[in-house]
Structures are given as structure tokens and as C-alpha cells.
Symmetry: C2
Subunit: 104 residues, 2 copies
């Protein structure tokens, strides 16, 4: 399992605009091979958000970043003025994973 | 959905010891109400790890941190010398989530 996190710092007062931009975007992820799940995370620190995506492998994530769907997904609108700094991408390999048991 | 991330910086050369400490620990998470999944993530930056847990809610995570199981889980062995600094905990609420469709 592989996780990509893109960390955003939002201009004070523009948090609602940032969330709206994500809610109204076209995702394109549903048909991408190796995609497992996505979450937009809001941190406890002011203006802190993470675009958080989980993949079957690093190769699946890298193939997505080279795809036409990726270009289309990232060509939607502009976050100018909403984000206070360029996003910072960090990449992680899962070395241990554990899932809750299926509960009745 | 709620995510807790505890970020670790490992002393250079002690990465294998850090992973072994996690692999050999008792997890205690399986029976915790509201627990969804756990991963130990290894970052692309040298010595960078995240203990990453996903919960149904912030309340479920907070109840875990007040439980006997939490005290037992965190009383196992010592990471002295293996971690270069105290871990840094960050907490996140998911404001958007998306799952891959179930594939045949």
C-alpha cells in the first residue's frame, strides 16, 4: 500500500472557498487502476489541509500522475489567492498494515 | 472519518530497529470501538515514519487514548536511542471521502 499526501496552507478566511473547490471538482479517480481511496483532510492547525490518496502501489500512483486523467483533474479552476503557499507533496510506503475485523 | 498521525524522526541507521519494534508489538487495536485501520508509513525522506490510524470519529480516537488498552499498547519497550526527537501528533477530520468501486 502506498499513500500520497499533498499538504496545503490556506489563506486565513479562505477555508470555505478551498473546500468548495474540492467539492465541486470532477474527481477522475474512480476508473484509475490501483486507486483505493481518497480523503480531503482538515487539520486541527488553522488553514492546514491534506489531499490524501491511497494506492495499491507506488507504480499505480506514478502511472496516475502521468495520465491524461491526472492532467484533466489538475486543470480545473485555480486556487490562486486561496492557498498561501505551493502545496508540499510527501510519499509513503506502508510497511505494516492492520484492518479492523468485520463486525456483525 | 478521523485520522491521527504521529510523525517520527529516526536516528540514522536505526530504521530496521524501529520497524522491528512495531512488528513485534502487541497491537490492542482490533477490539477498540471505532477503529478502522492502521498503517506504519515509511516516508521518502530519510528517517521519516508516520504511525497512521483511521477512526470512525474523533470521539472514538479520544476514547482509545483514555483506555487501558492504550496504556498497555504504549507501555511496550522503549524507543530510546532509536528516535531522534519526540514524535509529533497531528489530528485530521475528513471533509470529503471517496472510495474506489468494488471491482469484479
Amino acid at each position: 500500500m502506498f499513500i500520497a499526501m499533498n499538504r496545503f496552507s490556506i489563506t486565513p478566511g479562505r477555508e470555505a472557498d478551498f473546500e468548495t473547490a474540492w467539492r465541486t471538482r470532477e474527481s477522475y479517480l474512480q476508473s484509475v487502476p490501483g486507486f483505493i481511496r481518497f480523503a480531503l483532510l482538515k487539520g486541527d492547525e488553522p488553514g492546514e489541509y491534506i489531499s490524501h490518496s491511497t494506492w495499491e502501489s507506488r507504480a499505480a500512483f506514478e502511472a496516475w500522475t502521468r495520465s491524461e486523467a491526472f492532467r484533466a483533474a489538475h486543470g480545473q479552476g485555480s486556487l490562486a489567492g486561496i492557498i498561501a503557499a505551493p502545496p508540499r507533496l510527501s510519499l509513503y510506503e506502508a510497511v505494516i498494515t492492520e484492518e479492523a475485523p468485520v463486525r456483525a
